[in-house]
């Protein structure tokens, strides 16, 4: 019998590969007549389609319906998956000290992840960071943290995520959501259609930088143990 992550992976790939009847929700709003026969989608709708499908295939229709109810906010959905279904939160950040966009959001959430084991109230169990280091020649280096040297590369923890079959991702407190598989981010752009509607890219170079990936319990054994956070969850 297939596990939850297998069903989720099947669905995310089938939507990624075939979406000729879909259009980004914002594009449909601005061109309602042109796209009247298309189904509206966006970043969170993609994730909801995938997660609800997997719950249904596993026979948990109540959870599938709850997923759609919580779907307005990515953070609420992630909290629900962790608190009610035993999913596990992994904080991700390519370079905690020197984010290439010089936004303090990334360094601050990194501090909070270590100190509180939380990301926007989503419980965290792991922290995978410093996998794409900002070099000292980069214009963003030491713009936020003047006294910090070049971050130490950790390529082991990020490599373990290459084995994770499925995860749900949240960036900037729910500003953007996405799904994840084997080191890659799969996302929908709400202002696009056709070949530009869906995009897959490496987590290592994902431009949103910090965020959280919550993974089903069937994936936990694949995560590098040294990435485990040591703070006690409140």
């Amino acid at each position: 019998m297939k596990i939850f992550s297998d069903y989720a992976h099947d669905k995310m790939m089938s939507l990624f590969d075939e979406h000729s009847n879909e259009v980004g929700s914002e594009l449909k709003k601005t061109n309602p007549i042109q796209y009247k026969d298309y189904k509206s989608t966006d970043c969170i709708t993609y994730s909801l389609n995938v997660i609800a499908y997997a719950f249904e295939k596993r026979g948990n229709t109540e959870a599938a319906s709850q997923v759609w109810k919580l779907g307005k906010r990515g953070t609420e959905l992630a909290r629900y998956l962790v608190n009610s279904h035993g999913w596990v939160g992994i904080y991700v950040n390519p370079d905690s000290k020197h984010p290439i966009d010089v936004d303090p959001e990334h360094t601050y959430t990194s501090h909070l992840a270590t100190k509180t084991c939380k990301y926007y109230q989503i419980p965290l169990s792991y922290k995978v960071h410093n996998y794409t280091i900002t070099p000292n020649a980069h214009k963003s280096f030491q713009k936020l943290n003047r006294d910090a040297g070049v971050s130490k590369l950790d390529s082991i923890a990020i490599s373990s995520l290459d084995n994770v079959t499925f995860g749900f991702g949240v960036s900037r407190g729910g500003m953007h959501t996405w799904v994840f598989s084997r080191g890659r981010v799969y996302e929908v752009h709400w202002d696009k259609v056709g070949s530009e509607l869906y995009e897959a890219s490496s987590l290592r170079t994902f431009p949103w930088l910090s965020g959280v990936i919550v993974v089903p319990s069937d994936q936990v054994s694949k995560i590098e143990a040294s990435a485990k956070l040591t703070c006690t969850l409140a």
């Binding site: 914002e26 966006d42 970043c43 969170i44 307005k72 906010r73 990515g74 966009d101 936004d103 303090p104 959001e105 360094t107 601050y108 959430t109 501090h111 909070l112 100190k115 926007y120 936020l144 943290n145 003047r146 960036s171 900037r172 407190g173 729910g174 500003m175 953007h176 959501t177 996302e187 929908v188 752009h189 709400w190 202002d191 431009p207 949103w208 930088l209």
Partner: protein
């Protein structure tokens, strides 16, 4: 004589308008979202950094131009009238009473989790502290 009286009356009227504007200015300050630190803390008092009429942001990491109106002694209703939220024109204001702003800033400055953020918050506190002596508008 008649023209002198008119001139004095006009002068007095102008002074009244000027003093009202000065009070207005002192009792309201419009700041940037980022003046309250990164979203992970600022959201505690002014909501998330994406447009408030949307349930989430765009799929590219673009910042929305969200402004924060810090006010003192003026009914919120009047502030909302003066700084209305207009989605069609991408006008997004968050309203924060001075005392709440100071409470938030003092707490985060004391926590001092990140030096560069603390510097920003101290600067914001200095800026809005100047409102403490403002007159209350009717």
């Amino acid at each position: 004589m008649y023209f002198s009286v008119i001139r004095i009356l006009l002068y007095l009227a102008l002074c009244m308008v000027a003093s009202c504007s000065a009070s207005d200015y002192k009792c309201v300050t419009v700041l940037q979202y980022s003046d309250f630190g990164p979203q992970v803390i600022a959201s505690e008092v002014i909501g998330m950094e994406w447009w408030q009429w949307q349930t989430h942001g765009a799929s590219r990491p673009i910042k929305s131009d969200v402004k924060v109106v810090v006010y003192k002694g003026i009914p919120l209703r009047k502030i909302e009238e003066r700084y209305p939220v207009i989605p069609q024109r991408q006008k997004d204001f968050r309203y924060l009473e001075l005392q709440s702003a100071l409470l938030f800033l003092n707490k985060k400055i004391e926590e001092n989790l990140m030096a560069s953020v603390t510097t920003t918050l101290v600067r914001t506190r200095e800026q809005i502290s100047m409102m403490s002596g403002c007159s209350i508008l009717k």
